[in-house]
Symmetry: D2
Subunit: 185 residues, 4 copies
Amino acid sequence: MATAGERQKHLSSLELKKLVVERLARRGVSLEDMAALVYFVQKKYIDRLTMEDCRSSVEHVLEKREVQNAILTGLSLDEMAERGFLEEPLSSMVRSDDGLYGIDEVLALSIVNVYGSIGLTNFGYLDKMKPGIIGQVNDRKGKKVNTFLDDLLAAVVAAAAARLAHRDRDGCLLLDDGAAACSLD
Amino acid sequence: MATAGERQKHLSSLELKKLVVERLARRGVSLEDMAALVYFVQKKYIDRLTMEDCRSSVEHVLEKREVQNAILTGLSLDEMAERGFLEEPLSSMVRSDDGLYGIDEVLALSIVNVYGSIGLTNFGYLDKMKPGIIGQVNDRKGKKVNTFLDDLLAAVVAAAAARLAHRDRDGCLLLDDGAAACSLD
Amino acid sequence: MATAGERQKHLSSLELKKLVVERLARRGVSLEDMAALVYFVQKKYIDRLTMEDCRSSVEHVLEKREVQNAILTGLSLDEMAERGFLEEPLSSMVRSDDGLYGIDEVLALSIVNVYGSIGLTNFGYLDKMKPGIIGQVNDRKGKKVNTFLDDLLAAVVAAAAARLAHRDRDGCLLLDDGAAACSLD
Amino acid sequence: MATAGERQKHLSSLELKKLVVERLARRGVSLEDMAALVYFVQKKYIDRLTMEDCRSSVEHVLEKREVQNAILTGLSLDEMAERGFLEEPLSSMVRSDDGLYGIDEVLALSIVNVYGSIGLTNFGYLDKMKPGIIGQVNDRKGKKVNTFLDDLLAAVVAAAAARLAHRDRDGCLLLDDGAAACSLD
């Protein structure tokens, strides 16, 4: 149903990443907030891990189109629920973060899976304990609808941590030599 | 962010099923349309399969809350894209059924998984070949946004077929005796 | 490659459940061990929850063929690694529970998904914190290979808890009246 | 349960890829076999696609540790079933490729997901139609156990095709200029 005007040039994955970072900022979340949680989760396994490694890993996760699409869709559902644009009973389920509504976890899982199943455990742990920015967006739920946002953040952090675990094994962290054997992603 | 007025009694799974059937009807899809595809897919494996078995299986799939939530969310995204309520670039991706936008498959997968991974192959096949009602809703894409709908239908049919395969093994189809050993679902 | 002798009658889902319970017992895990964790996880959400509800829910989860197949396959991989039947490098990965080997999580996820995505968070939390029997089988890892077992247990518990959450909403716990509206599973 | 002798240096992702290619060759499958199917699936969408793009994409998919682990585990299960090392009833299920045994699809899905959900439809279609090498390994099932192998191949091909679709959108195929904006993977 795309009309002529809509048939615009598709955005590249880097352009989409920039836009996703802006949308997250609109919901009160920065790259630094997410990088800090990656450091919190992964530092105990990788001794020489730096905050710069963590920030870089979050940025690479946000360059993946599957991740971008999950975030844009989830934030859109949160915002439409906030404005009252969703029909009942979906509106109440999303607005109240109904415990039996699991589509937020479904979108989050599609993010985690891009870096392999080893991120699943961290995702669940982060979603339950809600440290750092995840807890902050959860606490804003009185005024905002953040039903999708907190799960999406836990998923991005878990994926970025899994990516670092894979790269550490291959000697591909930022400060490593021998980066020739490492793919950029 | 639920307000007092919203804190209504939660709908039961049977009430939600009724509502999901109505929403599918609003998008031009009936239980019979889906049952016919289940019969088409599964008849070659279960000789004594009846259309009544197929319709009953579709109805049981639609009683699962995970399935209901995926359908309500997907149809809502289709309808909001149709009305122009989604922000760019999500709006164009959903309206044009962009091949790189896979969130429709993500929601569909959460439906298939409820009856086990054996439905995956049928889901992919149905989504590619688009027989019956799946092709019809796909053909309406000039006038309607059915980006989520066709994947959701393929998933419901694949799940209902997988459910029948499991029940056939256990002697639990409608005409079987010994139904005592069979769970209702 | 089934030979004539192998073309035996397929086992029913109830026969397979009995066998799965025996195999879990062989690895030192009882139904009560799993039911206790379900109670631990879900009691805070369902005030009138009984241990009998929890045990019944674990039993229903173990009647699902997808769950049975994941458990039989995972336990088989643990036992073959233990006996030294796996080829390198898979043998070392499974024997040492390599943090980058995520196939145990992949099998676990297929169990959780049968009761919907709402179990994902509990799965990750249980897999990280390892309470009760999950911690016990993890502690035996010096003598046994339990790489798959601990993830499988976390998944069964998370699925059984998710099942109870769905049934509680519909008034279908063991002590509820009006069970007529409830499917047996 | 890793013993001292086993605590060997972990293999890098490139070393594991080499080993996976050898194991696939042992089961009668070459990189060219898989590249040909990627071309078959994706040529209609990317006009300037070359066989070299397809082969390169298969190689990149095989560099992912999640993919390597799924393949090593699945092939190991096929081979152990072939040698009669699996216990009943798992042995019969794997040897006969029981239609209700879906763990082969579960492992395959973990491969597809690494390149996003857009590969799901192609996976199901390939698994159903069994073109090229997938049909050939399926036809060998009288003499060999290839229960996992055919699903794994369909998954690698679907993932490699999804990867090409993403890269084509970003102008990152082999012959494209401007590769500076493209990650190596």
